[in-house]
Symmetry: C2
Subunit: 488 residues, 2 copies
């Protein structure tokens, strides 16, 4: 099916409608917003078979993977809906007047209000969970913002189906229709027009560094700059400490072979760099990992662009000084296949070559053999911002690697001990973010209900009579929202 790019007029109409709907939607009680979000989830649930079928054709991801992703999307909508209604995210605070204070203290109460229309750019690798009705959309709706989605061209028909579920939910729950719009755009200029539109108040993006950085720059160079939250991937370094490796080389290798090749390596949390200290245990680990990787069947990647980029970036890395190819999966046959690839380099050459620090999106990982503990520390300090970092360590190795652990903490949004970075649990404690270039603002998360705060801003009401305050700030607290009163 051919999807026509949105015209400038269509873009403007969508934004105007979003702005108009915003004036209604922002005043709708949290409970109703939550109902709407749950209605989207119900529609997705009902159309599950059709959605998965369509996504399989467009994304080449497996049925189970897509079914799981759709379930996750539904869980995000319902759990963020519950969080929206529960209202802690509003950070409601009340300081009552104190007329006896010198000077008298006024009554001041603070809550959050939505920013306004949010433009969402979905990810190619998550046709459901980080696309049309995905995390950014759910967070924006929970915050009280209308959403304009630019469908990812790699799964435009899936996106179209998901958008229908949202439109149906809008109708069923009586929401103002303009709170959602779905536009197509292969052309670069569509994204630009959306980010630069005067009525756009924030942007959510999941994808490549090049794409996210471009949106960030457009957002900042507007007459009125807007926050652009771009999650731009990461190499997710894994540090293997010696005792742990000596004890469990085989188990770690098996765990990591699975993590590297999961969904043809097409996760932003894919472990792209594994750092160890040269020696027989690391060699053994390599051998086990090599065997596993060699047994990996090639699989079709998301779309031709991703497959092409994977091959190019992998070749570029493999051609760098001192990089050796140590294992490849079974032969690539057919179009757009992603062949699992394992490479190795020594610590010195890794430190000297920034190309090797860059993400190769796909089933690829680079083992870095450091001369010693000191070089491993230097590697940790040399790395850019990451979504995740992992340390594989025996208990008694923690204290003796304090500086290493601090350095790793410094670069990542999520720090895993003795596990794999793939698999991003959806819960309030989750942080899916990290220092630049993992994201454009390390202070916000793309996963978990705290992600709602990307799209809302505080407002303080001073000296307002109780009856005129927003419900969550009224003395009687009709919604039963958690609040801090007098700082407590």
């Amino acid at each position: 099916m051919q999807h026509k790019d949105a015209t400038p007029k269509e873009i403007d109409s969508a934004m105007q409608a979003a702005e108009k709907a915003f004036s209604i939607y922002k005043k709708i009680p949290l409970r109703k917003r939550a109902e709407f979000m749950k209605a989207i989830a119900a529609e997705l649930e009902e159309k599950s078979a059709e959605l998965v079928h369509q996504a399989m054709q467009e994304s080449h991801l497996g049925k189970e993977r897509l079914k799981g992703e759709l379930d996750r999307t539904i869980f995000q909508l319902t759990s963020y809906a519950a969080a929206c209604e529960e209202g802690s995210w509003l950070d409601a605070r009340i300081n009552k007047a104190d007329p006896n204070s010198q000077p008298p203290k006024p009554d001041i109460r603070k809550t959050l209000v939505p920013l306004g229309p949010v433009v969402v750019f979905g990810a190619s690798n998550f046709p459901f969970a980080y696309s049309t009705a995905g995390g950014d959309t759910a967070c924006a709706f929970a915050a009280g913002c209308p959403v304009v989605v630019k469908a990812h061209p790699a799964h435009a028909a899936t996106s179209e189906l998901v958008s229908k579920a949202i439109f149906t939910a809008i109708e069923k729950t009586g929401m103002p229709p303009g709170i959602f719009a779905h536009l197509h755009g292969e052309d670069f200029d569509i994204g630009k027009a959306l980010v630069q539109h005067e009525l756009t108040k924030a942007v959510g993006f999941t994808g490549s560094f090049a794409g996210g950085k471009q949106l960030f720059d457009w957002g900042n160079s507007r007459k009125v700059p807007i926050p652009v939250f771009a999650e731009m991937g990461s190499v997710n370094p894994v540090f293997l400490l010696p005792k742990k490796l000596a004890a469990e080389a085989k188990e770690i290798a098996e765990m990591y072979a699975a993590s590297i090749t999961l969904s043809v390596g097409q996760f932003c949390t894919n472990p792209g760099i594994i750092i160890g200290i040269a020696g027989k245990d690391l060699e053994l680990f390599k051998k086990y990992l090599q065997a596993k990787i060699e047994n990996t069947k090639p699989a079709t990647m998301l779309h031709p662009g991703i497959a092409k980029s994977f091959i190019e970036k992998r070749e570029k890395a493999l051609n760098e000084k001192s990089v050796s190819l140590i294992a490849t999966g079974e032969n690539e046959t057919g179009e757009n296949q992603g062949q699992a690839t394992l490479a190795a380099v020594d610590g010195k050459n890794f430190l000297e070559n920034n190309t090797l620090h860059q993400e190769v999106f796909g089933p690829y990982s680079l083992i870095v053999s450091c001369a010693d503990k000191k070089e491993m520390l230097a590697v940790a300090k040399s790395m850019e911002g990451q979504l995740t970092s992992t340390i594989m360590a025996a208990d008694d190795e923690i204290a003796e690697h304090e500086e290493l652990i601090e350095s790793i903490k410094n670069i990542c949004g999520r720090f895993i001990m003795n596990g794999v970075p793939t698999g991003v649990e959806v819960c309030l404690s989750q942080h899916h973010g990290g220092p630049y270039p993992a994201t454009t603002d390390s202070r916000f998360t793309a996963v978990g209900a705290d992600g709602i705060k990307r799209f809302a801003r505080p407002i303080a009401f001073q000296n307002w009579k109780n009856e005129f305050l927003p419900d969550e700030l009224k003395d009687e607290n009709p919604w039963g929202v958690g609040r801090r009163v007098g700082g407590v």
Copy 2:
């Protein structure tokens, strides 16, 4: 006294020392950070007379005003210290492992970690409260960040004295010396070098739009962009609703005459635009305000640059089409005097002329007479982002002006009913921020302990043994920090 501009080498040394100190300071327990902040407050208290004396010479502000500001600064330090220690700002969240879930859920716990060295640019109009040991510095120290202050040239000697108090507190509480540096810089390039320095991780600024916007652009155009929180002032519109005005024209005029001329109008919350509906009540209000303004004595402004800019901007506004001068204070005599000025314009001309929407920093206010309620709404909708907005209204006017109230809400960070915008209470419910161009990021505040969050980012720990977790995330919660466990 002449203060030498920092050399590139001095700037680099300060940043290197800050980075080095950061590795120690970030691990210091909250209680110790709080002790350090309270020690700064104690030093300021002890040197109070000397500080006020010096600031009087440099800022031309009155003794009482400066004493009050110093008290506020001390209160900020001690109250943010208390908030730092109490730890709610860490937003600690715990989701325990659930091995029986399908798939099993890992243990994930989230807290905040400091961003790293923060560069603070103080405000000319607040030599204490928003300068060297002011709000930004206190928030950064509470977050666990080292601070490098660029002293404002208008009160460099005061800044020097304040910096000595900080150095003494560092010594007395055994903090790593590099956590604070104090640099001078008249030259534009010093600020640029500080914002662009690789080790700078965030910036706090209070001042003009031109200055803040420049820092914001430098921050965003770095190889690794950093958050620049700039509070850039505002015209703080005041909307007078008809019934309230009819009932209290005289009281409102008196209240506003005082607010407009307070500290020679040199507050970022100064009410620069007052909007009413043309008619006899507004004329009466003007008459009362006119009389008060005419009785205002001129006073010396902060520094020659501010006085010059006040005169220029005021003249520019007065020369715009249909603007009439309706009152001036007593004659200006002597150097750098700020003469209170009241101007008026009709709604139509205000709407057509963006120059009139701009801040005239000083004791100046413009009365906008709207033809009717509809034009008043158009004025509200035409305005840029503001730190504050105010509505003067009788109780029964609220419901009938719902759209106006929503439009005002849309543009401001603090919304005052029946009061004045000057006077910014320091408390947790305070929001001193607002949509661009009031600040560069409407999601953060410059006043109140929530301001700490500008300088920290979340990090999630996955699958960490209890003993290796940061204290605030340990099962036994040794610091007694408020946390959300399992979303509750």
